[in-house]
């Protein structure tokens, strides 16, 4: 709880620092504030503290996810030091909005009441609508913001409608109570309740960009400022899946048959659409947008096959995915800068010749995303398959494996470009902080892949 309060206060402090017109202070304050938050969160470990009439529960699950998201945000901020140097206006707001979004993310990991989930999703989303439009003069960025806002509002409306219907049927917002209410029907739900639950799931699926609610992803990822895209691809996704897991775990399990079918269809579609569409992309951000849809499919596969033991897999998968995705976006920013703002994958051309070490670590990160052994990405996928094959979902597992092969294919497009000869307009500049952080992430991905298989003990 103290972590949540501190984070909120931190956001306000950052906003006020904006008046001081002193950009150099922002990152250190934000990062040290978040480090304190990590400590405060970990202090609550094992306490299972509840607040606001049990509307939020800070159990170990939520603390683990919160800490993982804070670490990812810190990474983004550290990378942001270099990125925001170029920007002269509204830097403080950027930091503050990301922090506010993080507050929403906390609530999404710790709710036990549908209203709290709704608040969390909204507190997460509204800063993102603004952030996506961060480049005010860019047509693309405005489009991204507007599209995200419109589609996001629709999803929210559905979500609220769903809550209303469920409340109408069960007379409660508390998930445990809703669960007992559902249980009495033995799977034959009345239509109102069923539609309500379906709408709630739809709202969350929109946030994690699971097909067929993924249509905003490529455009928004492409248009938004790259650092915001990195934030959306990592923290928002982690929060979304934590919320998904909780929603299923404390509210809906055992899943009523129609809902289960709907979720399996979503899993299959996410895997299919994400991977196949990514194959065709030449724009790096769109490639990562579609691949993030594909990763959603893998995570859902784990969650649906064996919900009870999937929490640690979920945490591991999202964390490792974030750990590889953020440095990739940073490397992309670096090469994009020196190739006249070109966003094609071919911007990576010649990276190996110019900065061999960065190229090697970029390759390790991409291999992790593709799921090649000795990287954490492999272990993440392995654990997903252990869950799904262990439950006997053989066909969808084989399907997912075929899709994983497709995944390797498009990630290695990027690898191929890195090692292809090519010239940049200007030499690539990598600051010491960026270089060391990229290396730390690369090493972390390998170390996590060899030693730490289970983050949630």
């Amino acid at each position: 709880m103290s972590a949540l309060i501190l984070t909120t206060v931190l956001g306000i402090i950052l906003l006020y620092l904006g008046f001081a017109k002193n950009k150099t202070l922002l990152a250190p304050v934000a990062i040290s504030g978040l480090l304190v938050t990590v400590y405060l969160s970990l202090k609550d470990w094992g306490l299972n503290s509840t607040h606001f009439h049990n509307m939020v529960v800070f159990d170990n699950f939520s603390i683990a996810f919160n800490v993982s998201m804070i670490i990812i945000t810190i990474l983004i901020f550290v990378f942001g030091i270099d990125y925001y140097k170029m920007m002269d206006q509204h830097v403080a707001e950027q930091y503050a909005l990301m922090i506010f979004a993080l507050v929403g993310a906390y609530m999404m990991t710790s709710f036990s009441n549908l209203i709290m989930l709704f608040l969390g999703i909204e507190i997460l989303s509204i800063p993102l609508y603004i952030l996506a439009g961060g480049k005010k003069s860019s047509y693309r960025s405005n489009e991204a913001s507007f599209k995200y806002f419109l589609l996001g509002s629709f999803a929210t409306a559905f979500f609220l409608f769903g809550i209303a219907l469920v409340y109408g049927a069960s007379a409660s917002f508390y998930l445990p109570e809703i669960k007992t209410y559902i249980a009495q029907f033995n799977g034959n739900l009345p239509p109102m309740l069923l539609i309500g639950l379906l709408f709630i799931i739809l709202g969350v699926a929109f946030k994690v960009a699971a097909a067929p609610f993924h249509f905003w992803t490529p455009d928004v990822y492409e248009g938004a400022p790259t650092l915001v895209t990195a934030f959306m691809a990592t923290v928002v996704k982690t929060a979304g899946f934590a919320a998904f897991y909780r929603l299923l775990g404390i509210g809906l399990l055992p899943l009523p048959l129609p809902l289960e079918k709907a979720l399996w269809v979503m899993t299959g579609l996410s895997l299919l659409i994400g991977n196949l569409a990514a194959l065709k992309q030449s724009n790096f951000k769109r490639l990562f947008a579609y691949s993030s849809i594909a990763h959603s499919g893998f995570i859902m596969l784990a969650m649906l096959s064996q919900h009870d033991s999937s929490a640690s897999v979920l945490l591991y998968y999202t964390f490792v995915y974030s750990l590889a995705t953020i440095p990739m976006f940073i490397i992309f920013i670096l090469v994009k800068r020196e190739s006249n703002g070109q966003e094609q994958i071919s911007a990576f051309r010649g990276l190996f010749k110019e900065k061999p070490w960065i190229a090697v670590f970029a390759t390790i990160l991409l291999m992790s995303l593709a799921g090649i052994p000795l990287t954490a990405g492999f272990i993440a996928k392995y654990q997903v398959f252990v869950l799904s094959i262990g439950q006997g979902y053989l066909w969808i597992s084989i399907f997912a494996i075929i899709m994983a092969i497709v995944g390797v294919y498009y990630y290695f497009f990027v690898v191929r470009e890195i090692f292809t000869e090519g010239e940049h307009a200007k030499p690539i500049v990598v600051t010491t902080i960026n270089a060391s952080l990229i290396i730390i992430c690369g090493v972390a991905v390998v170390v996590l892949g060899i030693f730490a298989w289970n983050l949630l003990v």
Binding site: L394, I401, F413, F451
Partner: protein, 487 residues
């Protein structure tokens, strides 16, 4: 502990190489490390006790760093560590860019290959199996020839696709193990899997190995990859990595899904024999020397795949013997191809001819290597292929007839190629061709010596695999009990 040394020496040397910039130093260090590894391996071969190593450091969901070996692994490791000094030697005194990185990758490949052959745990096996692909991918991508971007990606995806099915198989087997799940081979071997499951599981597991070997119809990545690969790259691919496929099949299929093997036995033998004829015919029609050797390699490997599934004592012995002999021969052949290409500047057989007149010693050495490849008596190739064909004969006379065609057809296309390269009138442009240099003797003579000595005195290798071949036989007995009609 000694196994950990064998595994880690190349890896650590590879890391050390990255700090050096002088090409000659890098190569010498790499060579020294690989020779040291060979010596340790030989000590393992001649020692009476077996070694094993299990680390408590890494022990998670089903995986454990457990190393060990039996006769089959030992042959594979002997082959790997025997060939790598030569593969490294092949780069001496040659123009190569970013030498430190190249040799680091080569040594990393060696580590991964040794890991594959030593792993006592299926998931560990899988990790090394995939790991071996990555350095090879970069060796091909960065030091390859024309069109390498497209071809390497195809190669990578093709082989990886097979491997992911293998991963599926491993996880499936992992779930079947009783109690606390594990992926140890020993636990897998004790599984009793119903026959209809084994029938589909066979292909899930086999596809990865079939692609690696490659067996018809999974071979389409091979010739273009071999053709554009650098000499060292193609030596690794043809010399050692094809054997990974054979090793994997021996490790996974026969002990774990014996009923599946029985069910698909004839199918795979027929596929192998189709591969023999198909690759031989294409090899005959090739005008590109490197592609010709690539297809000849495929023909020999196809025969090995067919012989593997005959499941009798002769063919198994022949197979394991041929693993060594094929590896040595193919490395020598590709080295020869490289020498010819360096001297003539072309791989097109139509433009070659009369090289013998300028380089008589080279012609003699090439003839010896070609003899080994054709499997002429008194060369190592003969011992292996004869045993395999004898094994095929026990299965069916027609199999033996078709299998025997390997020898005949390889004589046809190899000698025809030899004639076009070495014999005939001297071409004007080849006036300045020089004969073999001392460094090249150093490479070729030991390999040719191995081919000839093993052809005359194959017993040491047979002794080495004696126990493991009989182990395999033992593993197959339950099947014959189930299906008495087969024997």
């Amino acid at each position: 502990m000694i196994l950990l040394f064998i595994l880690l020496i190349p890896f650590i040397t590879g890391l050390i190489l990255l700090v050096f910039r002088n090409a000659a130093t890098v190569r010498s260090i790499a060579l020294a490390s690989s020779i040291a590894n060979l010596v340790i391996t030989l000590s393992l071969v001649f020692s009476a006790n077996t070694a094993s190593y299990t680390s408590g450091l890494m022990n998670f969901t089903g995986i454990q760093l457990a190393l060990g070996y039996d006769g089959i692994s030992l042959i594979m490791i002997l082959l790997t560590n025997l060939l790598f000094p030569f593969i490294i030697l092949a780069g001496f005194k040659r123009e190569q860019k970013q030498v430190h990185m190249l040799y680091a990758l080569i040594l990393l490949t060696q580590t991964a290959l040794i890991g594959v052959f030593l792993a006592q745990n299926a998931l560990l096996f899988y990790i090394f199996w995939e790991l071996s692909l990555i350095p090879v991918y970069f060796i091909l991508l960065l030091w390859g020839g024309e069109g390498r971007e497209k071809i390497t990606l195809k190669f990578f995806i093709y082989t990886l696709a097979g491997s992911l099915f293998l991963l599926f198989g491993i996880i499936y087997l992992y779930q079947l193990t009783p109690g606390l799940h594990t992926t140890d081979f020993s636990a897998f071997r004790q599984l009793i899997i119903p026959e209809n499951t084994q029938i589909w599981l066979f292909w899930i597991l086999f596809v990865a190995f079939a692609i690696k070997m490659p067996v018809f119809p999974f071979h389409t990545w091979q010739s273009s990859t071999y053709n554009m690969a650098s000499t060292q790259g193609v030596m690794i691919l043809a010399g050692v990595m094809t054997k990974m496929g054979i090793y994997g099949a021996l490790r996974f299929l026969f002990p774990i899904v014996p009923l599946g093997v029985h069910f698909w036995q004839n199918t795979v033998i027929v596929l192998g024999l189709i591969g023999v004829i198909y690759a031989s015919v294409i090899a005959f029609r090739q005008t590109n020397l490197k592609k010709l050797i690539a297809f000849s390699s495929m023909a020999h490997i196809s025969l090995m795949a067919a012989a593997m599934f005959v499941l009798n004592y002769y063919s198994l012995q022949g197979l394991l013997f041929q693993v060594i002999s094929h590896g040595v021969t193919i490395v020598a052949l590709f080295y020869m191809v490289n020498l010819i290409e360096e001297r003539t500047g072309t791989l097109d057989l139509g433009q070659m001819g009369g090289i013998k007149l300028n380089a008589p010693n080279m012609a003699i050495l090439l003839l010896l290597v070609v003899m080994g490849s054709i499997a002429l008596p008194l060369t190592a190739g003969f011992v292996g292929e004869f045993l395999m064909i004898a094994g095929l004969f026990q299965q069916s006379i027609w199999f033996a007839v078709v299998g025997g065609m390997t020898m005949i057809l390889s004589a046809v296309y190899m000698l025809y190629a030899y004639q076009r390269i070495m014999l005939g009138d001297k071409k004007l442009s080849f006036e300045a061709i020089t004969d073999i240099r001392p460094m090249e003797y150093l490479f070729l003579l030991p390999l040719i010596a191995i081919i000839l000595v093993l052809g005359v005195y194959p017993q040491p290798i047979f002794n080495l695999m004696e126990t493991s071949v009989s182990t395999m036989q033992y593993l197959l007995t339950p099947v014959s009990a189930v299906l008495p009609a087969v024997y």
